[in-house]
């Protein structure tokens, strides 16, 4: 009975994970294929048709300049989804590299790298990101730099703690005795064994990164007009929310749905991994 229940539970977690990974892939696909899905040109203005509600030509209505809201939301998906995923990937690689090096080398290298990590961690992330993006001047690249510089530390800490925990394992010693080079050791033996929790952490971080990027854009520190991005679209639209609520609500819904899907994906990945370790421990 208990066995059966556990099996069933595992299946539902696995189902959840598959469902959300499909949805996430769908969203990423939409963001990549967005130019082919747009009904209108997202940058073409049509003053005669400004602030109209949903109609045949503009499925979600138009904004103050008569631009198609649906097309702009789709165009914004490229900035919002693709850039967030890219940014998380960069932070993941950089943070993991720092953590691996620190944990594996130990000694003075470890001390220096971890001091820097701790230093970065002791500043409030979003505030520093706002200031850095603000000084560098508003642009998508600068916003990504600001968030990236202030966001890689979690990966480094996690990777380091994992490496230190597994460094004492026999197979590492065995691999070293077999005469593997340092780089080969790191990539072939250490990395595959520490990467699991890091991927889960990254999956959880995608949603947060999206929110932060949208927040910077909302403040005018991310993408610049007229480029479409969900955060800046909400900002542009909020002045006329009474006349044309769709201008705010369409990108708002897009942010909400996307972040929810990626958050649920992160949760499902974590649960799946937890289940796995429970089963392993039970064997």
């Amino acid at each position: 009975m208990k066995q059966k229940f556990r099996k069933k539970w595992k299946n539902t977690v696995r189902f959840r994970f598959r469902l959300f990974i499909c949805l996430a892939i769908l969203l990423v696909a939409i963001s990549i294929l967005s130019p082919f899905l747009m009904p209108n040109d997202p940058y073409e203005t049509n003053v005669l048709m400004a602030k109209v509600g949903p109609c045949a030509q503009y499925p979600l209505g138009t904004d103050a300049l008569g631009r198609c809201v649906l097309s702009r939301v789709l165009a914004g998906s490229r900035t919002s989804i693709f850039c967030s995923v890219l940014l998380v990937a960069i932070m993941f690689v950089f943070g993991t590299a720092v953590g691996l090096t620190a944990g594996y080398k130990g000694g003075i290298v470890d001390t220096i790298l971890m001091r820097i990590t701790d230093l970065m961690l002791s500043f409030p992330q979003m505030v520093v990101a706002i200031v850095v993006a603000g000084i560098l001047g508003g642009s998508l690249l600068n916003a990504m730099i600001a968030l990236g510089v202030t966001g890689w530390m979690g990966y480094a800490r996690l990777a380091r703690s994992r490496v230190i925990a597994m460094k004492k394992e026999d197979y590492i010693t065995a691999a070293r005795i077999s005469g593997n080079s340092e780089i080969r050791m790191l990539i072939h033996y250490v990395l595959p064994n520490v990467i699991g929790p890091l991927i889960i952490y990254a999956a959880i971080q995608i949603g947060t990164t999206m929110l932060n990027l949208a927040g910077l854009s909302f403040l005018g520190l991310g993408v610049q007009v007229p480029q479409a991005e969900w955060g800046s679209m909400v900002n542009e639209g909020r002045a006329m929310i009474q006349l044309a609520p769709q201008v705010v609500f369409a990108p708002a819904a897009a942010i909400f749905i996307t972040v929810t899907v990626f958050n649920l994906l992160g949760d499902a990945a974590r649960d799946l991994a937890d289940r796995g370790s429970v089963q392993e421990a039970g064997r």
Partner: protein, 309 residues
């Protein structure tokens, strides 16, 4: 303990040194001539003559390191320079704004505590019941909603549709409510989840079974034992949530036009008012580090086990 505190306080100085150096350096590489920005911020059309004069006044001809050094030494003396915009002392501007942000942050934390405590406990006591699922669902939604969106939606519904609150937060209790609510929603979700988890964990511990076996009433155990132990987690949480609160306040204050530190920072960034931005960075990070320090100390104070390490 005293040694620990002194060590932690002393380490703040080199950290601020690094932080301000990087910020100062970024301003140096950022495009634009500070003298021109200063004149523009004051509404003067920069002529070549005026530019020369301002450059000399601002010591822009001196090397970068020297200017930074002078700035840092005077900053240590509590002089953060004057604003480009209105020539008022940065410390004075920060002082006024800090009061507003403090009011906003404290009300947000209080609101979060008042709401999340009962919710978290109820969710834990009715574990896997309807109420529990409802609360978990709500906290999940709260986590996926960005603050700026929430603020815009709240303004739309409460200020424009129902006309209960003013759109621009006047400095009254009524004006404070919406910004504080926006700021606290993230906290409410986080606190509720943590309180629920903490109460669940404590309920499963042997001392609760022991107390129950001795016939202590459930309410008594909850009030005096479980919540007492949960306090430590909560203290840490309040401390940890501070970073998000400071970041969130920039967004919220800008939307509601609340004259706090966040709005000051955004205005300074838009006007390229560098002394104010620098002052903001040093001040906000100082606040953050002090709050972290207090959290760590109170953690040690409340949980003797940590002191041993």
């Amino acid at each position: 303990m005293a040694k620990y505190i002194i060590k932690r306080v002393l380490i703040i100085i080199p950290m601020l040194l690094v932080l301000t150096f990087v910020t100062y350096g970024l301003m140096e590489i950022a495009p634009g001539d500070p003298a021109e920005m200063k004149l523009k911020a004051q509404g003067v059309i920069p002529s070549e003559e005026a530019l020369e004069k301002t450059r000399a006044q601002m010591h822009l001809d001196e090397p970068f390191i020297q200017r930074y050094g002078e700035w840092f030494v005077s900053a240590l003396h509590g002089d953060l320079g004057t604003s480009y915009k209105d020539n008022r002392a940065v410390t004075e501007k920060l002082g006024i704004a800090t009061g507003y942000t403090a009011v906003l942050a404290v009300s947000a934390i209080l609101l979060a505590l008042v709401i999340s405590f009962p919710l978290g406990i109820m969710a834990a006591l009715r574990r896997n019941g309807f109420f529990d699922y409802l609360i978990r669902f709500m906290t999940f939604i709260g986590n996926a909603l960005p603050r700026f969106l929430l603020a815009v939606l709240l303004i739309y519904f409460f200020c424009l549709q129902m006309k209960i609150f003013p759109v621009i937060a006047k400095e009254t209790v009524k004006g404070l409510f919406l910004p504080a609510l926006c700021l606290s929603v993230g906290l409410i979700c986080e606190f509720t989840r943590q309180i629920r988890a903490e109460v669940l964990e404590q309920i499963g511990k042997p001392y609760v079974t022991g107390a129950k076996a001795r016939g202590v009433k459930a309410g008594h155990i909850l009030r005096y034992d479980i919540l007492h132990n949960a306090m430590i987690t909560l203290l840490t949480l309040i401390g940890l949530s501070f970073a998000g609160l400071l970041g969130g306040s920039v967004v919220i204050e800008t939307i509601f036009q609340w004259p706090g530190l966040g709005k000051l920072c955004m205005d300074a960034i838009t006007n390229r008012d560098y002394p104010v931005v620098l002052g903001f960075v040093i001040w906000i990070c100082l606040i953050y580090m002090v709050v972290n320090l207090i959290t760590d100390i109170s953690y040690r104070y409340f949980d003797p086990r940590v002191r041993e390490e």
